[in-house]
Every structure is written in C-alpha cells, then in structure tokens.
Symmetry: C2
Subunit: 224 residues, 2 copies
Amino acid sequence: MRVMGVDPGLTRCGLALIETAPGRAVTALDVDVVRTSADEPLERRLRAVHEVADEWMAVHRPDVVAIERVFAQNQVSTAMGTAQAAGVVAMAAAYRDIPVAFHTPSEVKAAVTGSGRADKKQMTLMITRILGLQKPPSPADAADALALAVCHSWRAPMQGRVAALDAQVSRSRAGFQAKVVKGRAAAATEAADAGRARGGTGSADQERARAAARAMARTKGVRW
Amino acid sequence: MRVMGVDPGLTRCGLALIETAPGRAVTALDVDVVRTSADEPLERRLRAVHEVADEWMAVHRPDVVAIERVFAQNQVSTAMGTAQAAGVVAMAAAYRDIPVAFHTPSEVKAAVTGSGRADKKQMTLMITRILGLQKPPSPADAADALALAVCHSWRAPMQGRVAALDAQVSRSRAGFQAKVVKGRAAAATEAADAGRARGGTGSADQERARAAARAMARTKGVRW
C-alpha cells in the first residue's frame, strides 16, 4: 500500500510517500516541502499548495492520503491557514477518489515514538531509524509528513480490525434480536391458540402462556 | 463590475452575484446556497463546495470574489470547516486569476446597515431594501452572501482611493528625501571646497559649513 503523508501549512507544507509491506515494514519513496511566501495573497498560496499536492497524487497514485488534523486552539494566528492548506489537499484527494484519513499530532507521536508527548528531536530520531534513512529528514515538516504516513500505515490495519469486530458484533446482536422477536411472536401465537382451543377459559394454559411471554420479555431485555 | 459574494460554510455556503453601477447602485443577479451533509467525509464536502463555486465563476465571470473572513475565535467547533470552505473558494478564484477580497462580518454589517453590530434581522431587512428585492432572501446565508458582495462594491472604491492617496504620499516623501540627501551632499561639498580654498584653516568658513550641515541634518530629521 502507498501512503501519502501530509504535514499541512502555508509557509511550509510537508509531503511524503511511503510504501508499506505486510507487518510493520515501511519504505520512504519520496519527500518534499512546498514553500509559499507570506507576501503572496492567501488564495495564491493555497493554489500553490494544491498544485504540488495534486501533482504528487497524479504521479505517485497513493492508495490513501493521511493528513494531520488541525485544531483551532493551537497557534490561533496560523491555525486557519494551516487548516485551509489541509483542506485543499484533502479536496484534491476527493477529486481523485483517494480516501483521506486525519490523525492528530499526538496519535502520530504515539504511533512513531510510543509517547503522545514526544518532542521534535525524538520524532526525527525515530522516523530516521524506522525508515532506515542515512540522515535525519530536514526540515521538520518533511519528518512530520513521513511520520504521518508511518502512523497511518500502522494504525489503519488496527482501525480496520476494530471496524471488522464492530461489524461482527452488530451482526450478532441483530441476529440475536431477530431470534428474540421471532420467539416472542411464536410464544404469543401459541398462547392465543391454547386459549382458543380451550374455549378461552383454560386458566392453567393461559398462565403458562403468560409465563412464556414474561420469560421472552426478560430475554429481550438483555443487553450486551 | 460584477462582484461575487461568498458566505462560506460546509453545511450551507451562500453564493451571490451582483452588478454594480457608478455611484452606489447595485443589482442582484443570482443567489444560491450550496448544502452538504455532515454525514459526508470532510474532503467530499469541500469538493462539493468547490465544484459549485467554480461552476459559478465559470458561468458568471465575476470581476472579483468577496469572501467573509473567518476567525478561529468564533464558534470553534465549525470555524475550521468554515475556513476550509472559504479556502477552496478562494483557491478556485486564484486558478481563474480572479482577485479575492476578504471582509470581516463587522465590516459587512457596517457597510450595509451603518452599524457593525447589526443583528441578522436588520441585515436581511437592509439588504432587501438596498437591492429592491420583492421578498427577503432566505436562508440567512443567501442574504449574507448578497451583503458581502454589496459591502465589497461599496468599500472597494474607497479602498482604491485610500491606496491611491497612500501611493501619492509615498512618492512625495521619496521626492522630498531625495532633495534632502542632494542638499546635504551639496552643502558638505561646498564646506569641504571652502576649507581647501583657505588652506584648511579658515575657522569662520568651517563654522559656516558645520552650521549648514547641522541645518541639513535638522531638515532631514523632519517627518510627516
């Protein structure tokens, strides 16, 4: 699987491509940093980021694009521009029908270093080791984009397994509830038939039927 | 001039087109609201907003696109999506080489109602009157998009005049400073010549030269 990692930004936007193999093997294929000048109007900067990201998708044909999730709380002065850069890259992927995943900075840190609070130095060190690079990727945006891609390739199978388990549980639950509904209907029919057969007066049979209905109601009330 | 107004958003994005004539005459030509579902992934929603906005620019060929400026402080939960919607619309304009202007909500309110703190009802009332509409535009996003366009068409000429005045002041200042520099150089040369002519000892001439230099320094110190 080819994963494109994106560390969004207007001044510097990191782009990375890695190839994943079964297990946790990952190989860096390409990395780049798009720079735009703060002297340019916002819309030109967004266009520049979009152009390069779209070109990357056309050339590298990633199976998924993993982008850092931006929060409004962090660095208010640049957060909007960063979110907008993330937006135009995500949109470029949507136009190419490439799925997009967002990961928070702490998810990325936790996936790569084992700690959600790792600093930039630890991140760069670990990503250099994991990908077996000859020297640390620079600037930090390049390392972050690689980390995003690695994070996604390690989290995605786990998320896939969790989703599969969720689906399995939902199916089991639906099957169980269908059985309960069917059982309750059968018990009610049986009780009514028994009542009619005895001319509507057989109190022992009615009692049995009510007991069966109560039992089904209890079963139906079970939640797990 | 054709002005396209945009009230950005993911759930509802208002688009409006107005035609301006000399003076303050404005005519509404078109208005629409793009809606995207919160069930869709972010990148699909951004693509949908981009598609419609880009189609509008292709069909209506606006001379300028006026977009509401989004602040991170306002409604944190939706601010990022709103900023991203604004971003993809601005980017679409950049690809078509259409200039983009951003106006804050209070600039728009002040331009349309005379007060930066007008409420939605006042805004809708005023925009209905200004554009001579038969009924108030609905939903509010449509009214806001029209207001953005009206705000831009009324502010832009003023901003243009201010920019022209700024440029004129800069030119005058540059011309004055050039004269000062030239004058000081001439005074220094004159003083040196006078000093050399008297064999470097004429104290009265030196004193005069120093006084001239001091006078020039004072002139140079003038700021306006």
